[in-house]
Amino acid sequence: MAAPSLHKALPSQSGLTQQDIRMLRRRALLALRYIILIVLALLFLFPIAWSFLNSIKLPAEALAVPPTYLPSQVSLENYEELTTYGKIGVAQHIYNSTVVAIITVLGSIVLSTLGGYGFARFNFPGKNLLFIMVLSTLMIPFQSILIPLFVMIVQVDLHNTLLGLALVYITFQLPFGIFLMRNSFLAVPLEIEESALLDGCSSLSVLYRLMLRLVLPGIVTVAIYAFINSWNEFLAALIFMTDQDNFTLPVFLTTIRYGIWGEVDWGALQAGVIVSIIPSLGIFLLLQRYYMDGLMGGAVKN
């Protein structure tokens, strides 16, 4: 209360009006905000940028002690080295990660959509109980059931296969996926669906022809999460994959740390880091809105 009246009372000696001062102050604050934002943004970007810079150094320079700040020469040799690394080469591991991710994405979409639709739109005995069962699995961290999962996957001979790992990943995605899809279906007005049903469409074709389009944002969200989580997962992949040929990208990268004498090929490792970051980064940047929606829808709004 005191401050504004004081301002009013003061004659502006520099010839600035009251409004000018307020505007200048706001501008200064805004500039300060931008400066802080830019500094922080640079700090956040630094590790990725530094990794990228080193991946395009010559392999010898990437191993230099002490390190150089900027590459003396731009080279893709580290990436080339990566293509033949460990005899199998990175391509096989990209392929492994991709196949696992695709199965995970498709499986998560199909199961979450079917389950979400069922729980949102139908009434049947035991529905609430089953839904609570599905939801309660949100409480079970996968880390605590990895041991029996390993035993089971071995029992059905799916250990060390991309499909086996993908099944495990689908499982991890399901509780969140069902929850999100159920909410998506609930948000669709009932009338739209009813009119279609009365027109003689079967439930499956209503889902397929009509509802899928309306809940597409939810499906995209489920897909993004399934992809990024499966692409990045480390612990389960470490346990379920014993054969080097089947290692996914993150597990493969940890093996770059050990050569035959235990030395580390830092240049190739950074090239590998960049290669493994690009897909999830790309998908995130392209479909950011859906990712954020999922974060809000999954974690906050419910």
Binding site: G86, I102, I103, H159, L167, I239, T242, Y258, W261
Partner: protein, 416 residues
């Protein structure tokens, strides 16, 4: 294609979750072989075999620290490799669990069976049956840089024979410059220090395990404490580079090759690295001494075995038998500076006149290898009690705490 396949599989799954005839199995006619990352002649062995035989062996190198985990998972999953080159100390664990093929009948037929290195043969036995034969012989000893010894005014002809003499030599070498150090150890590498530190205790007449390997004797044997104090002095006085405290074994062999390290514990596996890749390195070899003299060595290395469940046991044995035959023993092992697996082949053209090789080979005469099924859990595991005890005693100087902790966790593990 794989996407389509994946979709089909997924559809099938969604429809009938119960019936799963989908296990993807490859029917490669070739044999798979695993080796831990330290064994370098294996690649040449496999290449030579593949060039001359119909059966093809695919070699997978597993980081030493992860070998037991990976092998265990593969065995549990029912698809272990057809051939495994295993750190010899793990053989009792795998053999006792019934996971290796009994090769007693094959071994009996070998005309040279009695000249195969005894420590490896012993570790490859379980309840009187053979489960493995040697494939890499690796005794531990100390290498020293003759040039640095001479610069420091030390007698390079007569390397140290007691702990005190070692300390004096280290101090003298440390004086030579800021970047020159008396010693090297990889204090974040569990296996490295079982290999090169245990012999200091053995050579002084002590041990961390009882004679029948049933109990831990860390707390009751005073030599253990003194050996820890010896290494603690090396660390406290800055006789090793600071980076040695965090080295996880990446520089176990290569640190000495840089030429600024006076002495380092190492083994046969490293001699070929020094000789082939660092011809200018002027170095000698001496046995790991006890406190007041004596000598000991860790009889290490790898044995080769056929994991249970393979369909190619006969072919696997054909390969194994070939690796022990004279030609590869001389032209691959000895030619690369590796000790032949058969004692009668130690006298070979490649070793003639190389005192270092004969000293290194003679280390095996004082070699000792603990026989316990929990060796990995005790010593080699990066999270095991051995490394933790060493780090606390040597790097932190809390020798009492370290010994109490070591004794407690060793006992707990050995009692299972």
């Amino acid at each position: 294609m794989s996407v389509r396949k994946a979709m089909v599989i997924l559809l099938a799954l969604a429809l009938c979750l119960g019936a799963l005839p989908l296990a993807a199995q490859d029917e490669a006619p070739q044999l798979s072989m695993w080796v831990r990352s330290i064994n370098f002649q294996t690649q040449e062995l496999v290449d030579t075999w593949n060039a001359n035989n119909e059966s093809q062996i695919e070699l997978t190198v597993i980081p030493s620290g992860e070998f037991v985990t990976k092998m265990g998972a593969a065995i549990a999953a029912g698809d272990p490799p057809d051939i495994a080159s295993i750190d010899l100390i793990y053989t009792p664990a795998f053999a006792s669990a019934g996971q290796l093929v009994d090769i007693t009948d094959f071994v009996k037929e070998l005309p040279y069976v009695d000249s195969l290195t005894p420590a490896h043969m012993e570790l490859g036995m379980y309840e009187g049956r053979n489960y493995a034969v040697p494939t890499a012989v690796d005794g531990s000893f100390i290498v020293y840089n003759i040039d640095l010894f001479e610069q420091a005014g030390l007698d390079a002809e007569n390397p140290p024979a007691t702990w005190d003499e070692m300390l004096e030599a280290m101090r003298a070498i440390n004086e030579l410059g800021d970047d020159i150090y008396g010693y090297w150890f990889s204090m974040n590498c569990a296996g490295c220090n079982a290999f090169t530190f245990l012999p200091f205790i053995w050579a002084s007449g002590g041990d961390v395990l009882s004679d029948d390997y049933s109990q831990a004797t860390i707390a009751e044997d005073p030599i253990v404490r003194e050996a820890l104090a010896f290494y603690n002095t090396i660390w406290e006085e800055g006789l090793v580079p600071e980076g040695a405290s965090i080295d996880n074994g990446s520089n176990f062999a290569s640190a000495f090759a840089a030429g600024n390290i006076g002495m380092a514990g190492t083994g046969n596996f490293a001699l070929s690295l020094y000789q082939n890749d660092h011809p200018d390195l002027n170095f000698g070899v001496f046995h790991i001494p006890g406190k007041e003299g004596g000598a000991a060595s860790f009889g290490g290395g790898d044995v080769i075995a056929i994991p249970a469940g393979t369909e190619h046991a006969e072919e696997a044995w054909r390969f194994i038998e070939w690796t022990m035959s004279e030609e590869p023993q001389i032209e691959i092992y000895a030619a690369n500076g590796q000790i032949p697996l058969r004692l009668e082949l130690v006298d070979n053209p490649y070793f003639e006149g190389d005192e270092r090789q004969s000293t290194a080979a003679s280390a095996l005469a004082v070699g000792h290898t603990p026989y316990t099924t929990v060796y990995n859990d005790l010593f080699n595991d990066p999270n095991g009690p051995w490394l933790e005890m060493l780090q606390i005693a040597i790097l932190d100087g809390d020798i009492d705490d370290a010994i109490a902790l070591g004794q407690e966790r060793f006992t707990q593990i050995m009692e299972g």
